[in-house]
C-alpha cells in the first residue's frame, strides 16, 4: 500500500516539472550583448605591394628578354606601357580614362597581356602625387585581382607550397612594385 502511494506521488511530481530556462536566457543575453558590441562589421583585407629597394650586392642573374609592364596612374587617365627589356623592344602604349569603365578596360588589357606572356607576373605601378589613395587602391585591384570570368594563371611562387593554388585563383599579376616611391 505504502509503495503504491509513493509511486503515485512521483508521477505527480514529474507531471508538474518545468524546466527553468531563465538562467540560460540570461547567459544568452549577456553573451549576445558582448559579441554584438565587440563584433567588427567591417571586414578587413590587405593588398600587398612592394617599394623599390637598392642594394650593393651584384646581380648574378643572366639578362633575359622579358616583358616589362608599367601602369602610370594620372589624375585624368591611366597609361599602360609594355616593352621588352631587349631588342626588339616592341613598345606599346595604351591610355584609359580614370573612371570605372576605364579601370575595367585596363583590367581586360592586363589579362590579355598576362595570357600572352605567361612568365610575366610583375607590374611596376607609377602614380602622380595628386591621385587619391582610393583611386590607387581601385587601380591596384584592377592590376592584381583575378575576376570570375578571367582565365586562371599559373604562378610560380617559390616557398608558397600550399598557397600556390589559392594564388593562382586570386591574382592576375601578384607582384606590384610602387615605382614612384623613390627619393
Amino acid at each position: 500500500m505504502s509503495v503504491r502511494k509513493r509511486k503515485k506521488r512521483t508521477t505527480q511530481e514529474y507531471e508538474d516539472a518545468e524546466l527553468n530556462i531563465m538562467p540560460f536566457i540570461d547567459v544568452f543575453s549577456v553573451l549576445n550583448t558582448f559579441l554584438l558590441t565587440s563584433a567588427a562589421f567591417v571586414t578587413l583585407g590587405v593588398i600587398k605591394v612592394q617599394i623599390p629597394f637598392f642594394t650593393n650586392s651584384e646581380d648574378q642573374s643572366k639578362p633575359t628578354r622579358t616583358l616589362e609592364v608599367k601602369v602610370d596612374a594620372q589624375k585624368d587617365q591611366i597609361v599602360l606601357d609594355t616593352s621588352y627589356s631587349m631588342a626588339p623592344v616592341q613598345a606599346n602604349k595604351k591610355t584609359f580614362p580614370s573612371d570605372e569603365r576605364g579601370i575595367a578596360s585596363l583590367h581586360e588589357a592586363l589579362v590579355r597581356i598576362r595570357t600572352d606572356s605567361k612568365d610575366t607576373d610583375l607590374v611596376t605601378f607609377y602614380t602622380d602625387d595628386d591621385v587619391t589613395y582610393e583611386q590607387v587602391v581601385k587601380i591596384l585591384d584592377a592590376i592584381k585581382l583575378r575576376k570570375e570570368n578571367d582565365p586562371v594563371f599559373s604562378i610560380d611562387q617559390k616557398g608558397d607550397g600550399n598557397n600556390a593554388e589559392l594564388i593562382d585563383r586570386v591574382f592576375v599579376f601578384p607582384k606590384v612594385v610602387m615605382g614612384s616611391v623613390i627619393l
Partner: protein
C-alpha cells in the same frame, strides 16, 4: 515560464521559443565570425578605408595608421597631417622624420629578434591603414620614410567588398 496570475486564475504564458531560436542563431553566427578572424582590429576613429575586392584577409595588426589629421606608428602619435600633408617642419628629404625614427627602432627590435633566433635579418613588412581621401603624395612620404628604415613590403589595409 513567465505567467500572469489574475483573480480569475487564468494562466497566460509567454512563448519565448522563437526568441531563443533567434538568439541561438545570432550567437552561433557571431561566435563563428569571431573565431574565424585571425586578427580583430577596429580602424582608427574617423578613418575611412578604401574598398577593395581583395580576398586576402588581414593577418597582422597595422603598424602605421594615417588618419585625416594624424599619423600613428604602433598607436603612438608621431606626426600631424595638415591640409592633406605633413607640415614642412616635420619633414626631412621628402620623408617624415618621426615616422622614420619610430620605424628604425622597430627595425632594430626585429633584427635583434632574428639574431636571437639564429636567422638572418631581412627587409621588413608593414601593414598600413590610411584614409581613402588622402592623395598619393602623403602615401609616398610614409613609404619613403619606411624605405629608409628598410621596410619594403606594404600591406595596404582595405575594406573588403564583394563584387
Amino acid at each position: 515560464m513567465a505567467s500572469v496570475g489574475s483573480s480569475n486564475k487564468e494562466s497566460v504564458s509567454l512563448n519565448i521559443m522563437p526568441m531563443m531560436d533567434v538568439f541561438s542563431i545570432l550567437i552561433t553566427f557571431l561566435l563563428i565570425s569571431y573565431s574565424s578572424d585571425p586578427v580583430m582590429v577596429d580602424p582608427k576613429q574617423g578613418l575611412e578605408l578604401p574598398g577593395s575586392m581583395t580576398l586576402v584577409g588581414l593577418d597582422e595588426i597595422p603598424a602605421i595608421a594615417v588618419t585625416k589629421t594624424e599619423i600613428f606608428v604602433n598607436d603612438n602619435r608621431v606626426a600631424d597631417v595638415v591640409g592633406g600633408d605633413v607640415p614642412e617642419s616635420q619633414r626631412s628629404q621628402g620623408a617624415i622624420q618621426s615616422v622614420y625614427d619610430e620605424l628604425i627602432k622597430l627595425k632594430e627590435i626585429n633584427d635583434r629578434l632574428a639574431e636571437a633566433q639564429g636567422k638572418k635579418p631581412k627587409l621588413g613588412s608593414l601593414v598600413m591603414e590610411m584614409d581613402k581621401a588622402h592623395v598619393f603624395k602623403l602615401v609616398k612620404r610614409v613609404m619613403i620614410s619606411a624605405q629608409q628604415a628598410e621596410f619594403v613590403t606594404f600591406k595596404l589595409m582595405v575594406d573588403k567588398q564583394s563584387e
